[in-house]
Amino acid sequence: MKKLIVKLMGGERFQTMRVSLFCIITSLIVGAAILLAIGKNPLAAFGNLLQGSGLMPKSSYAGRQNMFTDFMSFLDALTPMIFASLAVSAALKAGLFNIGVSGIMLASGFTASVLVGQSELSAFIAKPLVILIGIAVGAIVGALIGWLKYKFNINEVVSSIMINYILMYIITFFINTFFVDPISRQSKTITDSARLTLSGTRAFDLKFDVSLAFPLAIICAIVIKFLFDRTTTGFEIKAVGLSRKAAKYAGMSVPKNIILSMTVSGALAGLAGVTYFCGYFASIQPGVVPSMGFNAIAVALLGNSDPIGCIFSSFLVTVISKGSIYMSSQQGVEMEIADLITSVILIFTACAEFLKMYVGRLSMEQGGSEEAGEA
């Protein structure tokens, strides 16, 4: 058994990827066990997840819908998740935990909804404006968290959690007081020209949603990847994240890099906010912090806080969360079961670091005997 584990996950090549895969497969097995235990067919249920995400054809479709429409709405849900997980990973590179993604999402989504979402601006002006506002609001809040960290040495986890609550209650107050839609009890729906998702687009006899920001999410991931792997700025942020003392000794500015990485992280969280509240949705529910901001932490960890890895892990988690609606309707499985499987994945990801360490130790112990076998 131990030998098998080492064989699967030992060695340095692609180790993180193999460990992530191991986490995913293990959690799916556990998920299957849960489904079996409540008397459902796990294979059918997992199939439903794929069907619900438009990755496998369903047996029947309503009018003007097919697999493509499902897939497009899946992409629409995927977009903010990619941004949110990128936000977390950008902060992680500097050794910071940005728990404030949720609050920042609310703040940027709300600001954009109020400033642009109710206006008469044409789509060509309104949509870029929404994106810019998202970036700006996010960057400001992110920078604030970074500044608090360096100026008063306030742990970023504490300050970002508090900022989540502060923003949520302020925004709830404003929505309920000024911007509430009396029927839905949510904030007033934004105009179609401000929305980053073209909802109900008609073509080829189909009706579907188009996420305009999805290409931007992919581009952002590539840009962030480039920033961290190939620029001196990324080099500095990583050095600061891995060893503050050594970075300082090398002449890098620790405060500058902390604030910078939190600003980038905040801007990405802001993009997650506008693509979520002014794209996937068109209004904001008051009194609730979007759970996506927290899931994004685990998604980023599952992607080994690598921007490209974040795309894949966002994909996986969105398949489960998006597909679970269809699964619950088809199998009569509660939505909570899907959440449970997501949670199991997240727990196993949290173990990834431990796994790596454990494998390292095992292969140390076995190193000798294996070599003897080869010799």
């Binding site: 190939r230 620029t231 050095a239 891995l242 060893s243 050594a246 000794y249 002449g251």
Partner: protein
Amino acid sequence: MSDSGYIIEMKHITKRFPGLIANDDVSLGIRKGEIFALLGENGAGKSTLMSVLFGMYEPDEGEIFLRGEKVRIASPRKATEMGIGMVHQHFRLVSNYTITENIILGSEPLKRVLGFIPCVNMKKAEADIAALSEKYGLKVDPKAVISDLNVSTQQRVEILKMLYRDAEILIFDEPTAVLTPQEIEFLLDIIRGLRDSGKTVIIITHKLEEIKSVADRCAVLNRGKLIDVLDVATTSTAEMARLMVGREVSFTSDKTEAQPKETVLKVEGLTVEGEAGNEAVKDVSFEIHAGEIFALAGVSGNGQNELADAIAGLKTAVRGRIYLNGTDITDLSIRKRTEAGVAYIPEDRHNVGLVLPFTLSENLALKRYYKDGFSKKTIIDRKAFEENGTRMIEEFDIRSSRGNKTVTAAMSGGNQQKAIIAREIALKTPLIIFMQPTRGLDIGAISNIHKQMIAERDRGAAVLLISLELDEIMDCADTIGVIFDGRINRIAKASELSVNEVGRFMMGVEDKQGGGTNKVRTGGTAS
């Protein structure tokens, strides 16, 4: 077997790690009641061999006999039960616990409150520990908290920890690496005392003088193989060194007379705050010339760290000025100072000198990554990183498993230090600060570093060497300064000072004419 007189016998021990054989068919016998030393360079397999004995690794081949019986030591806990104790190089103490709590951790004496509620019997523990420390001359206050103690006292706690568990075989892994000369003497006395009370002591070290002064027998390891077991009394240190390194080693570095030229570094009335807000460096003034090695001697914790950090810019000066080639650099940032011409080899190579999870090539570029030739307009040139790395790896003989791509955390201490020195020397600055450059390294590496330091001097650099090793100071210095309690109380040409004089100034003897009756101030050894 038992009548061979050996308390431990290790037979044909082989331990392999991926890519290397740490112990290759090593057979040793250790007699009851002797001090047995394990001598060897870094990576010779001393620590691995003792880790096998202490149950941290299981050998791939070979057998261990304890008191004549074949045993399998599967874990440190097993080893402890069998009466084997070990003091690791890096102490394993809980810093916010008291001495007593640390010592009893894992084998707490219990009492029953109200007849049934189990509680730690702290009173009994404290009394036991007081008695133990009395018996072995290891003075400690059982109620003191670890974080308030200096390194040497912490080590005493580690020793007490073994004694409290009735260990009969005591293993010390490089026990003197962190101690001052006086503390080393004291420790060696304790070790002799332990032997005289019937314990068996094994010391891992690469310091020949210590072996000569304390050990009865000594095993020499080289590249995992047992070279010889020697009777210390009848073997010269030169012979031991030859066996350990595998070639002749000259103890005195051949260096020519210094040819000091213009002043490079001038420090005037410098005062620097320490961690606790105290004045760690007090009104210090000195000069270093081009082509001169200025060695600063002193007992650990007398302001050396703060002084070096202040010159390199990691700490700000409270008062005083620092001039480099006549330019005031007191208010410059760390980066500006590096560019103005300060290279710095810091004491803490793990946390300060290297970003450990970075690769070797990244660490070798750590001070120049932003410059032309390493990056263009903030875009990093990976190829330039690699080329720079390859060049340094060759020139400075930095050994690692995967060259440029090796994560520095996976490298040995000696090679990590080589990497730092390579990087700093490559800056070709007029001033180089070497802070404890050879700490924990073996003879071969030490003599290499000394050669490099002298080569830098001969190139025309001003070298500031800060060291706790008196031998190193005496070997390398052109000018010696002695720091005590934050003040430099003597600066003189190396040729004008004897080892004993320097030693006295290090202890804070104020009268320059020196003598046994001078008042000696204590203190300054805060951890």
